[in-house]
């Protein structure tokens, strides 16, 4: 079983997951992202690093926000960007995922940014490209099912590093629907790789994956206990359909027990930062007073996200 995202020379060929991604590669993405944050502040927000490259945003699942950040990142690198909302086009006509890929490859795609509701779909695409000898085409996973959302995980690391510097001294708590969250899986993978000594997840038992204790985290069901003394609070989005699946009784009860309020946040360190991958459900997983408060770094996350995505795209397809 070959790791499909690393090529024979140990370089990043695709970005599919942060699970098992070497620390050196993670650090070099974060290092490379730093100068890109300045590009956004220039009058001409463009660099020619991906000039002439064709990047296809393949979104099999709707997401305006993530697609937009990838689009901006690619355009700032002067790539040609094509957006495809595939849920409304070819697959509806019965075309298989790999047929779609083959067709777009025939249009000389250089990179696919893929979001899919099925875990592993971008891995399948990467394996297919490998099997058909198309080593020059790259895949970036923009979120697949519950599996991974690596660029989100990386931008979270960029944000933490920006505010907290040393990962090896940190207490970090991830709060909410870990079970269904690709974001949480990527965060857990990368935080453990970067050596965070105290990584906690806080959730009701119904929203924790089986055997999560084997992934290097401590689990807490009690939010107050879990937040005590942490440096970073990473909130997760709670989808409304969780109520239907008999996983939770009501949003109200969830808010009461696991919603991040100023009072609960006060148990964390004084200078703790609060993160959220967005879009937020105010009044469900997070109180507006926290979301808009001084400790929140939710908007900087978005800004850093573009720089991190630029760094990833350059690392994969840049000269």
């Amino acid at each position: 079983m070959r790791n499909p995202q690393i090529n024979r020379h140990g370089e990043l060929q695709h970005l599919l997951t942060l699970d098992g991604l070497p620390r050196e590669i993670i650090n070099s993405i974060l290092d490379n992202a730093a100068p890109f944050t300045e590009v956004a502040e220039r009058e001409v927000k463009k660099l020619p690093l991906l000039r002439g490259k064709s990047i296809f945003n393949l979104f099999f699942e709707n997401s305006t926000r993530t697609r937009t950040t990838f689009e901006i990142a690619a355009k700032r690198l002067t790539a040609d960007v094509v957006n495809l909302n595939v849920s409304t086009s070819s697959t509806a006509k019965g075309e298989s995922l790999l047929d779609t890929i083959d067709n777009l490859c025939a249009m000389n795609a250089d990179m696919f940014v893929v979001r899919h509701s099925a875990s592993g779909a971008p891995v399948l695409i990467a394996q297919h490209l490998l099997a058909t000898g198309r080593d020059h085409v790259h895949v970036v996973n923009a979120g697949d099912g519950r599996h991974a959302h690596p660029t989100q995980g990386l931008l979270d690391m960029y944000t933490i590093r920006h505010y907290k510097h040393d990962f090896t001294q940190l207490s970090v708590a991830i709060v909410g629907d870990v079970l269904h969250s690709r974001v949480a899986r990527s965060q857990i993978a990368v935080l453990t790789t970067l050596g965070v000594p105290d990584l906690r997840v806080i959730a009701p038992k119904t929203l924790l994956p089986t055997a999560i204790d084997n992934m290097g985290v401590r689990t807490f069901n009690d939010m107050r206990e879990g937040l005590r003394g942490v440096d970073v609070v990473m909130m997760l989005r709670l989808q409304n359909e969780r109520m239907a699946g008999a996983l939770l009784p009501t949003p109200q009860e969830y808010y009461k027990v696991w919603g991040l309020t100023p009072e609960k946040l006060s148990l964390a360190k004084q200078d703790a930062i609060v993160m959220h991958p967005g879009p937020m459900n105010r009044g469900i997983e997070i109180d507006s007073a926290v979301a808009d408060g001084a400790q929140a770094v939710i908007l900087p996350q978005v800004t850093f996200g573009i720089a991190v995505r630029m760094a990833v795209m350059c690392m994969l397809a840049g000269q």
């Binding site: 699970d19 099925a118 592993g120 399948l124 599996h147 899986r185 089986t210 055997a211 992934m215």
Partner: protein
Amino acid sequence: MNIRIINGRVINPVRQTDCVQDVFIADGKIAALGAAPDGFQPARTLDATNLVVVPGLIDLAARLREPGFEYRATLESEMEAAMTGGVTSVAIPPDTDPALDEPGLVEMLCYRAKKLNRAHIYPIGALTIGLKGERLSEMAELVEAGCFAFSQANVPILDNMVLMRAMQYAATFNFRVWLQPIAPFLARGGYAHDGETASRLGLTGIPVAAETVALFTYLQLAKTTGARLHITRLSSAEGLTLIEQAREEGMDVTCDISINQLHLCDQDIGYFNTNCHLIPPLRSQQDLKALSKGLLEGRINALCSDHTPVDDDCKLIPFSESEPGATGLELLLPLTLKWAEESNLPLVNALSRVTSEPARLIGITKAGYLAPGARADLCIFDPAARFTVNRDNLKSQGKNTPFLGFELPGLVHYTIVEGKLMFER
């Protein structure tokens, strides 16, 4: 045609014998072992020096995909696979399309199989019409048409009252009921063992409780109704424990596992290998060990291929959307041998799990052993030869198996069915 097999290492699991002797076949039956019968004139002599001669393998579950799924496999293609794998009898689960719930369908299937004149088939009738779990199938008629047992394949009955009635009705005639332990709501929407691998990959899990809860139900209902229960495709250590507890209480319940569960665990899914999308799911390493030990000690009665050809279109898609199932007919013998090697089990014991034991479970009295008068179904293989499983050397139309790339022992040289040489390498 009279056939003489000379110098072979003849293994007869039912008698626990393993020695070099000659085998003489006449009129579709074994005429003698050891010395030739008086006046025996062989039309063909097979030299089995360094080869093993065993009863033809009996597979408790092989989906030949007819009727209904001919684009995935046909009787022709899968019979070819059976012959290549030394499998001379197969039990056929009822999840064809339409399901095997009508005597006419079963008769047609038996007729087609007989015309092909390869492996003997033993159809398992649908316990309920269309496997829908609502109305009982015509069990008495189906048995007349050729069914030897009744099952729901992978489709559990939602309504336990229907299940109890079905078991009661089957018990009326002392028919066998073969059930796969799947608690429908606990297994719903899942595609991998609910453990660390599924959690890491973000695949919806099927908890072990989906098996144990169903087993509790089945065992209780078998006790109440007196149905002859066989549990198919066990996947967990806990499930096996439940069966053993029931046996300790005096219940006569048997069970089998597939080659997949004997050799693989959830970690083999690796990077979303859809060939490891199976029903039941591949469970943990501990489960794997417990099942292997259970089969070794005879607490699990038999090993089967659970042969389920699936076409590429249904495998080259994301894991959760892919179809469960793997091809296996040609791998049953090699994987039995691999297991024997790894567990230091004498061949005579290992081979009983794919010959005499399944014969007993199906109720085959004429085959599964070597003795004068037995049906001359034989498999002659080279135990020392090794081969690498790849798409090109599989005869089955289904090329998808988690064992692709594995180097396995055991190459079949001859397959004899009812005294006829049907396969020759």
